[in-house]
Every structure is written in structure tokens, then in C-alpha cells.
Symmetry: C2
Subunit: 225 residues, 2 copies
């Protein structure tokens, strides 16, 4: 049982503005808050994530990983699903409800997120801004196609299934990456996202992720000049 | 228990050449074959996947979904993980081993696959071939970064953990999408992929996916002229 272990999540002590509130440890923090499971944080100095210490916990040098007593896990999707096993806030007890939540968790990560990530990748990281701009419309179309399907599913419903589950947590975490102007064309999806991120567990998780960024902002700003 | 249900997976009766052997029902078929769980197939006519019948099973109009007696699931990642719960070929019985397999399953889908899918997306579907070509090198770099991490993990090892698991199944399914020339620079990864796809369960699943494509090739070829 996770609640019998000492838990610690890796997170960054600072990230650039575009990534603040989006680093994947937020998803793990949110799940732990919903489940009411206490945890600690191992803050990594920005720039050290590819070093041997983090690679021993996370083979790709990413954040987050979760230390659980003697054990450990990586990949926020995996960790969030693992946490959900121990929380009746995140998963119902009936098999059909659990299967539906599992389907939606993967739909968030593997159907809805890919075009959203692709757009972010091109807009933020591409070194060929002109080529990236030319490809933008077709990627936006792919995002809209996913949002249209969600709009249909969510019309007249509060959650993806008949109650909040880990599937909603992950879908909301993904939808937060979409530009609010684009989301505005999908009223049921927008209202759903607002409903999800108004949860106290989300607000606490977000504040906890952001706190060290604010504390370390000045130090990193001076290093980057 | 899945093995007490009547199971049927959705699959296409035909897809274009570039997608043959890559449609995601293959991942589900492979898992079912490894687990020794019998299943049927609901073949969809190519072009009908966005219609009401499939949308009732798969909210995004995709393939696959799995009917399990009275219940159903969608998203190949979700279905494969669900199947793994009932197979000691796909998952060990100890908690640490199961947690590791879960981490690797998500690493395959959410860390290794995204740049690979992005490249396929640009090369196959982009309508702006010149812009897509200009962005290719930076996406190839992102793929190589993931493959380098895997090369490090797999050096001197047969599997991602101490035995074959559902994590290897999913990683191999993802690595099959990478160009063999690119993979050739990563000998441990290449040998690992060969080891995975030499499994009888994979070969049976692949043959079963491909069979209707061959049977229906002539009919679709004539429709597309």
C-alpha cells in the first residue's frame, strides 16, 4: 500500500515560464492529493535531470519519478494509475467503471494529447519557425477533431463517465495545454475543464509545483543572462 | 475474468500499405495471443470507422475497441494493460515487477512513441511536404535521443526488466514504427526488437491482422482508382 510507504516525487526547482504549471509531476501531485496520500518532494536543480542520479530513477532523464519505500516507478501516467488503485476518489469499485476510467486515461494520453504536444513542440522548440508556422493549421485541425469528439461525449454530462475518476484527472491535465481561445469553441469541454481544475486537490497540487519556481526565479534569471 | 467472456476486437478489413501491420488492433491481438485468451474479430469496412456504430464503441472513431461479454473498452494501451492483469506471461506476480512493467508500458507510449508518431504524421499526412522535410532533422534528433536511452538500458539485457513483460510488448510495438536504417545505429535496441517480434504470439497476431488486407486488396484498389 502506497499510504504505508514513504513517498517522494521528483520535481524541478525551476522551469521556464512556458512550462510552469505543466511539468508532469503536477499530474502525480494531483492524484496524490485526490487520494489523500501524503508525499515528499525531491527537487532537482534545473539542468541536472540528465545526470547519473536522475537517470538511475528515470531512464530518459525526465521528471517525475516516484520513490515508494524501497521501490520506485517512473512515467506520470503509470504512477497516476498506480495511485488510483488505492483511492475510491479516483476509481469506482465496480469492474466496468474501472475499465472505463482506464480507457479514458489512455485516451487522454494517447489520443488527445499527441496533436496538442506536437503543436507545443513545434511552437516552442522548433528552430525553423517558418516551417513550423506553415504546419500549424493541419495540427490545429487534428486537435479540433479530438476536441469535437470530446464535446459530443461531454454534452449534458459533468464527467467522462458517471462520476469523477482518474480518467477525468488525466483528460483535464491534457486539456490545460490547449490555448483557451481554441477551447472556447467547445463549450462543454471548456466547462468540464473548469469543473476539473476547480477541485481543491488540483489547486493545492498546482500551488505546490509553482512555489519553488517563484522562490528560485531570480537565481535562474541571473544565470541565464 | 476475460477468459470467461466472449471477446471481440474491432479491426479494419483493409488499410493502405503504409498502415498494414501497424494498426493498433495488432497490439491487442498480440497481448491476447501471449495470454492464450481466444477472441473474435469485428471487421470494419474501411471508411465506416467514423459512423455511429463504431462511435458507440470508440468515441474518437478509431480502431481497436474490445467487446468483453456485456462490457467494452477502448484504447489499445488500456486494453493491453487490462489483458496483462490476467496473464503471467505478460506480468510477474510480485508488486515491484508489476510496477516496473507498468512504468515501461507508459514509457513506450508516452516517451518513445511521440516523436516517432510525429515523424510518421509529417511524412505521411502532411500536405506541406517542403515544410515537413525541413522539420525532419529535429524530429529525428528527438527519436535518436529516446533510442540512445533505450540502448543504454538494453545493453547486456534481453528485456527491459529481468523477464519479458507487457512493457516489452508495447515497446516493441512502438519500435516497429522506426525506420530500420535509423534503428541500425542502436544494436542493442535492434537485437531486442528482433527478439520481441520473433515470438510466436507476435507472428500469429501479425498474420491475423494482415490476412483480410490481402483478401480485400483488389476490391479497395479498384474503388480508389
Amino acid at each position: 500500500m502506497l499510504r504505508d510507504c514513504e513517498l517522494s516525487v521528483t520535481a524541478f526547482d525551476w522551469v521556464p515560464g512556458f512550462a510552469q504549471g505543466l511539468v508532469r509531476d503536477l499530474r502525480v501531485r494531483w492524484a496524490l492529493e485526490e487520494a489523500g496520500i501524503p508525499y515528499g518532494v525531491d527537487l532537482l536543480n534545473q539542468g541536472t535531470q540528465g545526470g547519473a542520479a536522475n537517470l538511475a530513477r528515470q531512464p530518459f532523464g525526465q521528471v517525475p519519478s516516484l520513490r515508494m519505500g524501497d521501490g520506485s516507478m517512473f512515467e506520470s501516467g503509470a504512477i497516476v494509475w498506480r495511485i488510483a488503485q488505492e483511492s475510491d476518489v479516483l476509481l469506482p469499485s465496480d469492474a466496468a467503471g474501472r475499465d472505463a476510467a482506464l480507457s479514458w486515461l489512455f485516451a487522454a494520453l494517447n489520443t488527445v494529447e499527441p496533436p496538442i504536444s506536437m503543436l507545443a513542440q513545434l511552437e516552442i522548440f522548433s528552430t525553423d519557425k517558418e516551417a513550423a508556422t506553415r504546419l500549424r493549421p493541419e495540427i490545429v485541425d487534428a486537435i479540433r477533431l479530438r476536441l469535437s469528439a470530446l464535446e459530443r461525449e461531454l454534452s449534458g454530462r459533468d464527467w467522462l463517465t458517471d462520476r469523477f475518476t482518474v480518467g477525468d484527472l488525466m483528460m483535464a491535465a491534457v486539456l490545460r495545454m490547449v490555448d483557451r481561445d481554441m477551447l472556447g469553441n467547445f463549450p462543454a469541454v471548456s466547462a468540464y475543464l473548469d469543473r476539473c481544475i476547480d477541485r481543491p486537490a488540483f489547486r493545492k497540487a498546482l500551488a505546490d509545483q509553482l512555489r519553488p519556481f517563484a522562490q528560485n526565479e531570480a537565481r535562474y534569471a541571473s544565470m541565464m543572462q
